[in-house]
Symmetry: C2
Subunit: 886 residues, 2 copies
């Protein structure tokens, strides 16, 4: 069996854009080689070879070994050293290199090629027996541990014993004799575990090392990492084989790592550290403290200058901040790796802005340099990374921002203490809607159960409050009012801090840094606004949130829910009266009391959003949500009867129970709600429409431009919308006549049920706008309710990869996305300039925003704190589309 | 304003296929005229004129009157009489004639054209003053009443007074003098009510009469009728103006109505009645008893012979049984109307079968002659129409069949008495699932509330038991155990009968006729089987139903629900143990007890359907359905605690409550059910698969051909199906190995959630078959649950025409139908020969069956009693498609 594939590339045969085939490390080594930088020669075995290795049942694909041998020959020729030579042996490092860097993969084997024979050559060529033997010792350890699974600690134990025997403290204090003993013991250990002698053929060593790299692609840790980071399993890893250079051959040697700019702040200045006379592993081992890179200028001025100019060259070449590894061998600088450097959100933004100013990248390119979700970190106070603090546990980073306060375990306590001006953190196993009043008054919330979409997480994000959720390490004891984490006990009143951006729980109070939204932030998002074509609005139910949304750059309100207004204490009695009404007259009388409240609500929001559209959704939830809980009532009545309670009270409660029963639904999500209420009780929507238009008339009189959009929820048939639109128009005309004020308004609908999407062509004939309610649309398209799915089986589905994504977080493209496409096409076929938006949590999810852009929506709407994220995500979508069309 | 439309057609200008324009009556009069039958000349004003009459604000469209005058001139010429002539006046009848005959429309005005002048002409030309005056009297009455709204009873009062004065009994005994007085008083009455003199211009009379016909198109009753019968409002009615002929000018005159075959039985023999010396209205008035048509042979042999041959000619011409009106004037036969005759189900089938045998129609045509829903009547015992009985109320015909029994008001009583061998009718305001045990033992059910889709109706249809629902006339008093209807009181134990095919409630016991399913029935449905391409299966959960389905012609089981089996008393404890299990081991132990039961179930059904496929759906409902009701438990615990009950019992109940709470769902329909159970508890489906395959192995050993189809419910993603299919295949292979028996089986899925339909291309890669669960698909596509919608707002939606049809009865073509189309196309794109069916109630609805045929499904599946309906509906769909493609 033979084929025409090329499995082995010399560094000078590759390029930076061959990452798929050569992995990130291999492609960059090739690129540096080709632009003439001092890179020790080497070769890369392709990711394809790795995949075929699995196809062939963990055997190298035919032809690969021959290519490898040929490549090694060329290497030997270039360097003038030979594998296994007893005069001047070639030694190599072997490193994995997947397309994305990935923990869990085998990292590095150094000094491969050393055998009992070639170590003699190394002694000769370096004239340093101690050094050569030490290299051999390290190699046997590393190869055995990394490639063959010989337990690391057993090597360490032998080493410790020998040091004790010699009575020395550091490895490099061992004598040549001791090193010989060590080598013998290491080899014996190797034999004990592998059943074979330590391989004395360098080529065999190499093949075993390559197998180990390939094998590590499917290590448990790598698999888990890929799953978590959504990296496909079939990418495979490449293997880089590179001639060794030594930073540990004397004081004219050294090794270091540096970023071209500061990865924490983005400042344009080399940032990194180095060690004289050391190998890379010594830096990591932490035995000696590395020095800041700036000191290299004094230590090795020529090297420093050379490195600095190479850094600048690499940055220009890659047009991004680089993270570089280098080694100095006997006064000569070698580049061992370069890659785009990881950075904080603040640094990402500053680097992007600076590079635009430097003319290095365009504004479009700058858009792709910041992860929209990272922006979240910038909007909230952050833990000061320079401060010292004790992390006692880590949960899910559920809602960004840092906060501290004294611990409370009960929403009522949180409310009471919060009102008294105390800063508190609410700690619960989980939160429920009953805890809202506590959440409102707390600085942040910590839960021991629940995921990124749990109640606490969703509510906290909506409020812009920090939350750490699902922190399973803490065990809460409500009765004693404390939680434990390991041996530590934290009692009510003790201070903790939480960092919702990282999930950290910290004992005591830590200093935080306030968000800085001017400067780079404002400039960068200004560019995003220039580039994006998708509008961004916010969801807000009150003037305060509306103002916040405006501050964050929202160009309108995409969703104002009116039901929250119904829940307020002074209104609820009228709402309940309305529900209990037996006649239209009684109902209208109750509604007349609600009208002024609603008018005031709408007045405030419309005023806060002067000049911008405000989409107001008429009443949506089933009416029983405004009545007492059925089960509590049942228990109350049972108790009253059991204990011979007041018969008038029983009667009253029973009357209430009768109504609750009447309104009871088997599946409230699929029940008598949304415009179904408006159809069966037109007077409710009539009151709301009147409240909106009276507010608009009032504002218009005051010279304030109000742009109301009246939104009808849960439409399934054009006839519903036609009926309710007609009523709305009539009321608008009445109000205009009564007030003598002319005003503009539009009437549209949510698309949140499959049938609405499927019949959008019909519905559009009665709609001025569509707004996708993707929460409900997802629930009905999947046939599962979020409340039930998340508590019961959704996590299982995600864990077992039945579903790749949580469809409540990211729009399901094939199901929900397909319906959205049908709806957009249908709607625009009837009304080409139909305004179409999306509200609901997906409107703030970058991946979903890209879907919305592709579908040609006019705007997304999300919670105020998500607005900056959405602005950037929308710009990215525009850039990606432009790039793809090139 | 003028246009080129033709509003007036002479009879010789029309044709039978112009029903849209000329109405049914006008088109048939034209047809008869053109084939040379003796039809009094006349003309038809088109339905278009009626529609434009409304467009022009209740004014005749321009040009219509001129055409009418011209047409009348031609009529006068043909007949040789003149409108309003004082020698030989033209008299006409004016009749409405819409496309579909319709109660509530103005019917007939006879003798139009009589005035004080022309009545003299009629006296002269007939030489019969009494006759002429009597005609005039009748005309003033009819015109005033029908066209101008003069109260009918006031005419009657005057007539009665005059008869009293003259001391006579019958109208025709009045003297000429008395008739003159009567005419004066009638004219005065007309003036009193209309403010105008009785019109003395025949042409003016005619225009007023035409206006009255047009106006009656929008009478309340006509509107309600159209709504109920789904007749569009924009058809309009035509008006027929026809020269009068008189059957009441002496003993050589007469009038009659006859069917070409017996409309009750279908027997091929003239069936009808006639009266000598009478006008049509006399037959209706019932003053004289009409004679059977057979006697006409003696009375007027020539006329009879002529009529008989015309009847045969008409039947051949129209190729259907005719319903004919005729009049004999002075020995000459005139045809006044012919139309296809209405008939009972039995007659429809017999006529169709006979006509095929007679060579009059093809088998394909015969298929369209019977309404599939009517077939239902033939499958159940029917009230003997020849018996005498007292109908005391009429409700909705909710489930066909006749039954009698003594009244009980409680399901427990029904069960007890039923078990004791008594025949009982269960009478309830409504039924709930708690009444099932009573329904099972009752002969039939009568409810005072609820519609065709209420619980009682659905359950009764499923059981094939008669039901009359929503019979609001009966007022039930549970405490006194009686119901009243008007003045009548019916007590517990009294006998009543119900006819579920007509909705009649009858006092006492009436004789019924057993269904006859051989003969014509078998032959006719045999033809349907030849013609249809769509397969018909039945839904059955036990061997008895399976046998019934087979008897009715089902070629397999399309849905076997396994959850009903779980509910049985001896099994429920194990089911509950399984649910309460804390570990897999406990759960498997509980499941091992259920395995033999399930195996026995499947053995029985597969055996009963030997040689036919049996589609078995694995467990579908959420597990909490098998636990006690949460609220009852809550009340029970509250009471126990309140009264200091046994603490062990409380603990036990609380443990149960904890599990119930754990499983509690906000929206059970959208919760942890269907294959979500199979994914999270694979051992449940594993047990079921094993039970199926062990039963199959056992049958195979016995030489019985079993064809199992394992159906996975509620799939939303191909990964679910892939996982469960793999498990099922493994178990099948295990069972084959264990038993040493090879057998065939397939694994497929329900398509009952929008996402499944939208991703059918992917799902098909793992499915051998699809079965549409249109109940759930409708619920999720519309976003309303059936239970909640039907109780709360669906009726309102239907009443107000927001929805045209109940989507749970007939597939919603635009929404659900569109998803089905996507699914069929997607599925077959991946697997061209994918087997696709539908189960659920839509599978037995003729309109939905047509949709299924059009979509290219392989089969429909419905309840056993619906199988014959489905067979015919499927044949009709094939014929309609063939006709359309011509």
């Amino acid at each position: 069996m033979s084929n025409n594939k090329k499995y082995v590339y010399l560094f000078n045969e590759g390029k930076a854009d061959m990452k798929d085939l050569l992995g990130g490390k291999g492609a960059n080594l090739a690129e540096m080689t080709n632009i003439g930088l001092p890179v020790p020669p080497g070769l890369t075995i392709t990711t394809e070879a790795c995949n075929e290795y699995y196809v062939f049942g963990e055997k190298f694909p035919p032809g690969m070994e021959a290519e490898l041998e040929q490549g090694l020959k060329i290497l030997e020729g270039k360097i003038g050293k030979k594998f296994g030579d007893n005069e001047n042996p070639l030694l190599v490092s072997v490193r994995s290199g997947a397309k994305f860097s990935m923990p869990g993969m085998m990292d590095t084997i150094l000094n491969l090629g050393l055998t009992d024979t070639s170590v003699q050559g190394l002694i000769k060529s370096t004239n340093n027996e101690r050094f050569a033997l030490d290299c051999y010792r390290r190699f046997i350890h590393m190869f055995g541990d990394v490639a063959m699974g010989v337990p690391h600690h057993e090597y360490e134990e032998i080493l410790a014993e020998e040091k004790e025997k010699e009575d020395v403290q550091f490895d490099n204090q061992l004598t040549v004799k001791a090193l010989h003993t060590l080598l013998d013991r290491y080899k014996a250990l190797y034999r004990k575990h592998t059943g074979e002698d330590f391989p004395q053929n360098p080529y065999q060593q190499l093949l075993l090392a390559i197998k180990a790299v390939f094998g590590s692609w499917n290590s448990d840790r790598a698999i888990v990492y890929r799953k978590h980071n959504r990296i496909p399993d079939d990418l495979g890893t490449a293997v880089n084989v590179q001639a060794m250079v030594f930073g540990n051959m004397g004081d004219d040697c050294g090794t270091g790592v540096a970023f071209t700019r500061n990865p924490a702040t983005g400042e344009r200045k080399l940032y990194g550290e180095y060690l004289i006379n050391a190998q890379g592993e010594d830096v990591v081992a932490g035995i000696r403290t590395p020095l800041p890179i700036s000191l290299l200028e004094q230590d090795m001025p020529d090297i420093f200058q050379q490195f600095e100019s190479i850094s600048q060259l690499l940055e220009k070449h890659y047009r991004d901040m680089q993270d570089i590894e280098f080694t100095v061998e006997r006064g000569k600088l070698f580049m061992l790796q370069t890659r785009n450097g990881k950075r904080t959100a603040a640094a990402a933004m500053r680097v992007a802005v600076d590079m635009v100013h430097e003319g290095l990248i365009t504004k479009e390119e700058a858009m792709l340099r910041v992860d929209p979700l990272q922006i979240n970190q910038l909007l909230h106070p952050q833990i000061d990374v320079n401060a010292e603090f004790q992390v006692i546990a880590t949960g899910l980073p559920a809602s960004p921002g840092a906060a501290y306060g004294s611990v409370v375990f009960d929403a009522n306590d949180a409310e009471a203490q919060g009102k008294a001006g105390k800063k508190v953190i609410l700690v619960r196993t989980e939160t429920t809607p009953d805890d809202i009043h506590g959440l409102v008054m707390a600085q942040g919330v910590l839960t021991s159960r629940g995921g990124m979409t749990s109640h606490a997480a969703v509510v906290a994000r909506g409020m812009g409050k920090p939350a750490v959720c699902g922190c399973e390490a803490i065990k809460i004891d409500y009765t004693q009012k404390l939680f434990t984490v390991g041996d530590l006990t934290v009692k009510e009143g003790d201070f903790i801090s939480i960092d919702g951006a990282t999930g950290k729980v910290i004992l005591g109070e830590v200093p935080t840094i306030a968000p800085e939204l001017g400067g780079d932030f404002a400039e960068y998002l200004g560019w995003a606004d220039e580039i994006r074509t998708l509008g961004v609005r916010a969801n807000a139910d009150n003037p305060k949130d509306a103002q916040k949304a405006r501050d964050f750059g929202a160009a309108g309100i995409g969703l104002t829910r009116t039901e929250h207004m119904f829940m307020e204490q002074e209104r609820l009695p009228f709402v309940q009266k309305m529900i209990m009404a037996d006649t239209i007259e009684e109902r209208e009388e109750a509604l007349s009391h609600l009208l002024p409240f609603q008018q005031e609500d709408f007045y405030g929001i419309l005023k806060a959003m002067e000049g911008y559209p405000v989409c107001i959704r008429l009443l949506d939830p089933p009416l029983h949500e405004f009545l007492p809980n059925r089960e509590e009532l049942l228990v109350e009545i049972t108790k009253l009867k059991c204990t011979g309670g007041d018969s008038d009270l029983i009667k009253k409660k029973e009357k209430l129970m009768k109504k609750v029963d009447e309104l009871h639904e088997f599946n409230p999500m699929l029940g008598h709600r949304g415009c179904r209420l408006g159809i069966t009780y037109p007077e409710i929507y009539a009151m709301q429409a009147r409240a909106i238009f009276q507010a608009v008339a009032q504002l218009t009189k005051e010279g304030i431009k109000a742009i109301p959009e009246v939104e009808i929820p849960l439409v399934i048939h054009v006839n519903e919308l036609a009926f309710l639109r007609k009523q709305t128009v009539e009321i608008a005309e009445q109000v205009m006549e009564e007030t003598g004020v002319k005003f503009e308004y539009t009437v549209g609908t949510m698309i949140e049920v499959p049938r609405a999407a499927l019949t959008a062509d019909e519905i559009a004939t009665e709609a001025d706008f569509f707004s996708f309610g993707t929460n409900d649309l997802t629930q009905t398209t999947f046939g599962f309710s979020r409340d039930d799915a998340e508590g019961k089986f959704l996590q299982h589905y995600l864990d077992y990869k039945i579903l790749k994504e949580n469809p409540f977080v990211t729009i399901d493209p094939k199901g929900v996305g397909q319906l959205m496409e049908i709806a957009v096409k249908g709607g625009r076929s009837s009304k080409p300039d139909l305004l179409i938006g999306i509200c609901g949590e997906h409107g703030g999810d970058p991946e979903s925003i890209q879907t919305c852009h592709q579908l040609g929506l006019n705007f997304v709407s999300c919670s105020p704190f998500r607005v900056p994220i959405a602005r950037l995500a929308a710009a990215q979508a525009a850039v990606i589309e432009k790039n793809q069309s090139k």
